[in-house]
């Protein structure tokens, strides 16, 4: 069942268009993650769903009802802010109870809701403390508790973990995953910069870029079948290598030659790749393997070697005008800086994009 839908939603501040024609259907029980570079409009979109920003164009529906003009409190949403946004003068209990008190719910109902949220989030020992007497992780749990108490149809999280330190971030991320599991019916929308959060939490990821949706899909789908070079380079770390190439032989098994003399055969779903047209060949650093043969994909001078034990990361001297290339080899290798090495990859791991950056898989 569709829990939330955005139809041609746009946002502009005066002449500045921040979001353009966003279309998205979210099913009940999904955990959708918005990712994208800073300033791409993730928070703005979330705040429009929450009702904290007006919607300039298009329709927002929650549970089948148009919500564009409905005040925030009646949209059936709850939001967790990056800075927690706890009321500093109220105890944990009162923080969680505030919304229900405003709605004049009976005291027994309020108490039950708080007891339930406190049990789920293990906040019982802290109920009578003020927020300033809590650690960052505990504060974030209270903020989450405050949203659970509201019993919303849709939970909204705006970078909830980015104010926590690394260890706590992992722990709280796992807690959020467990929370989602304990409430399978609830829909969640989660904004983050962090790829690991996106990949581990999401049922589907929405990649935003400059006010447009670039691709929507399950985490591994985005990793394995990126729709364009932006998604290809945004998902995965280090980013995917892109090589300028020329089509030698089109067809389902397209044969390409890279500008630096490499050679590869890429299986693609469509027939469109014309002979002689220039394309971009993508290969992930972790998919590259060393080779001795003449059928190599890439031959380059090693500039920096980072030996991490489990992996060895090689940075190659960029050819003029091209982005630096990276390879990530498993295990320990005794490769010296300055040597020239050859690398290749299995055809199934290669990605082919038009010179405009659109994947041939989706054409």
């Amino acid at each position: 069942m569709t829990s939330l839908s955005l139809r041609d939603v746009s946002k502009s501040y005066g002449a500045v268009n921040v979001l353009r024609d966003i279309n998205l259907e979210i099913d009940e029980g999904e955990l959708i993650v918005f990712v994208g570079p800073s300033g791409c409009g993730k928070s703005t979109l979330l705040r429009m769903i929450a009702g904290l920003e007006t919607i300039t164009g298009g329709t927002l529906e929650i549970a089948g009802e148009r919500m564009n003009e409905v005040p925030p409190a009646q949209r059936g949403i709850a939001m967790v802010f990056q800075t927690y946004a706890l009321y500093p003068h109220m105890t944990v209990r009162d923080n969680m109870a505030f919304g229900m008190k405003i709605a004049k719910k009976p005291q027994a109902e309020i108490d039950a809701a708080i007891a339930n949220a406190a049990r789920i989030l293990q906040l019982e020992p802290y109920l009578d403390r003020l927020p300033k007497a809590l650690s960052g992780g505990q504060r974030q749990r209270v903020a989450i508790g405050r949203s659970i108490v509201r019993d919303p149809k849709v939970f909204l999280f705006d970078e909830p973990l980015s104010n926590l330190d690394a260890a706590l971030r992992v722990a709280t991320r796992i807690e959020i995953a467990q929370l989602k599991e304990s409430m399978p019916q609830s829909t969640m929308i989660y904004v983050t910069h962090d790829q690991v959060e996106a990949m581990t939490l999401a049922s589907r990821i929405v990649v935003l870029h400059g006010g447009d949706i670039e691709q929507v899909g399950a985490p591994l789908e985005l990793y394995e079948r990126p729709a364009n070079t932006f998604v290809a380079q945004f998902i995965g770390s280090p980013a995917m290598n892109l090589l300028a190439a020329e089509v030698l032989q089109g067809g389902e098994q397209t044969e390409v030659r890279t500008a630096t003399g490499g050679h590869a055969i890429v299986p693609i779903a469509s027939q469109v790749s014309d002979q002689g047209s220039s394309v971009q060949l993508g290969v992930r650093p972790e998919d590259l393997v060393l080779t001795e043969s003449d059928e190599y994909l890439l031959s380059a001078d090693v500039e920096i070697v980072e030996a991490l034990g489990e992996t060895t990361v090689l940075y190659f001297k960029p050819k003029d005008g091209e982005a630096p290339l990276i390879a990530k080899l498993p295990g320990i290798h005794s490769i010296k800086k300055g040597t020239t090495i050859r690398l290749t990859a299995v055809p199934e791991k290669l990605h082919l994009f038009t010179d405009k950056g659109i994947s041939f898989l989706y054409r």
Binding site: L52, P72, A73, F81, Y87, H89, R150
Partner: protein
């Protein structure tokens, strides 16, 4: 010599003297007293650093001692002596004489009225204007106008308000705004609405507020639930004082409602506002409120801006309306600042002198303590009673001062 030149020379001498003092005294400490060389160099540096703060503190401590500490002690001594008996020690005779004077108690009562009304009204107006001017385009212009009275001296403001309260004979044109407005009332419906109903309703709201205050302060002792656990020893006296104070104000406001509704109003006759007993106090207070509202507004609007925007957005999501956001989210978060503003204005009020001196000089039952002291010291030349009243003012100011400093420090942390 030209006074401007004199001023310039004073400034140069003063600043130069300060710099010279700090420079030379530090030189003396480092080069002569504990020189940082020889076999004791390390120990000498430590010693010099222990003494250095005192070098810097000395001028301030000396000046404060001379101009603040000494006068307090001298005033205390004078308050225990009698001038007519050549300065003989008379114990507390001055105090008991003062306590037997009705004018002193009138001053005490008026000071208490000022103490309650002026800080409360100034802070409330300041908060209101700070909130209202926060988000509008011309808010800063409005703020500048409201702040402007802060730049006017109390005496200047008194002169302005004397013009507002000015009275002319009935057949002349009134130049006082208040009388001009007053004469436009004729006892009809408009007069009833504005002069009886509106003030009565305001007083009724105030009375209701006082009832609430009493209720809040006695609640835990009537329904002794578990709320009282962990109370500090001073909660009972504090609650008792608040309850009694509220009860007194409740009685005053109920009495005022009755008099406002039933009293006969002299329509058509110009009033000499400053001679109307009891109410003239409020006409004087208006001057100080006019001045202090700007101060309260500036501090409170800075505090309002300091409230994290997310807490307000969270409250919007929680369904709070504008009033609930203001009273339940914003005001509690700036409570510390409100208290500091309140107590700061209270300190100004306790020392109020210029306004009363310039407008009524304490006649028609408007006496206040500071003016009473001035009367005794410089008009009656009775230094004993004058000093005694000065000591009373100091004792009243002291606890509020301590509290103010305590709160201001807490705010800074």
């Amino acid at each position: 010599m030209n006074p401007a030149l004199q001023g310039l020379i004073t400034i140069i001498l003063g600043v130069g003297g300060c710099i010279g003092y700090f420079y030379l005294s530090n030189q003396f400490l480092d080069k002569v007293l504990f020189p940082a060389r020889g076999k004791d160099a390390g120990r000498n540096i430590n010693r010099a650093n222990m003494i250095r703060p005192w070098l810097f503190l000395f001028p301030a401590v000396f000046a404060l001692g001379l101009y603040l500490g000494y006068p307090v002690i001298e005033t205390l001594r004078l308050s225990l002596t009698d001038r007519s008996a050549d300065g003989a020690f008379v114990g507390l005779a001055n105090y008991s004489q003062m306590a037997s004077e009705p004018k002193f108690w009138e001053a005490m009562r008026n000071n208490m009225l000022w103490l309650i009304v002026v800080p409360a009204v100034s802070t409330a107006f300041g908060l209101l204007t700070a909130q209202l001017t926060d988000r509008i385009a011309w808010g800063n212009v409005a703020k500048s106008f409201i702040f402007m009275p802060m730049a006017i001296s109390f005496v200047g403001a008194s002169v302005i308000f004397k013009l507002i309260y000015d009275t002319r004979a009935a057949d002349l044109e009134q130049i006082g705004v208040l009388n001009a407005v007053w004469l436009s009332f004729d006892g009809g419906l408009g007069s009833f609405l504005f002069l009886r109903l509106t003030p009565a309703l305001i007083l009724l709201a105030f009375a209701g507020f006082m009832v609430y205050g009493i209720y809040i302060s006695v609640k835990p002792y009537i329904w002794s639930g578990n709320e009282r656990r962990g109370d500090a020893w001073w909660t009972f006296p504090l609650r008792a004082v608040v309850a009694l104070g509220s009860a007194w104000l409740l009685w005053l406001s109920v009495w005022s409602i009755v008099s406002v509704m039933t009293g006969t109003l002299p329509y058509g006759e110009p009033q000499t506002w400053l001679t109307v007993p009891f109410w003239n106090n409020f006409f004087l207070m208006a001057v100080l409120i006019w001045i202090q509202t700007g101060f309260a507004m500036v501090i409170l609007s800075a505090a309002l801006r300091g409230i994290p925007e997310e807490t307000i957005e969270a409250a919007i999501l929680d369904g709070a309306n504008a009033f609930q956001i203001f009273f339940k989210i914003k005001v509690p978060q700036i409570m510390g600042t409100i208290v500091v503003v309140w107590t700061t204005i209270t300190l100004v009020v306790l020392k109020v002198f210029d306004i009363v001196f310039a407008m009524t000089n304490g006649q028609w039952e408007t006496q206040v303590l500071a003016n009473y002291m001035y009367d005794k010291l410089f008009r009656a030349n009775d230094w004993g009673v004058g000093s005694a009243s000065a000591i009373v003012i100091m004792l009243l100011v002291m606890p509020i001062l301590v509290w103010n400093v305590y709160n201001a420090r807490k705010e800074m942390r």
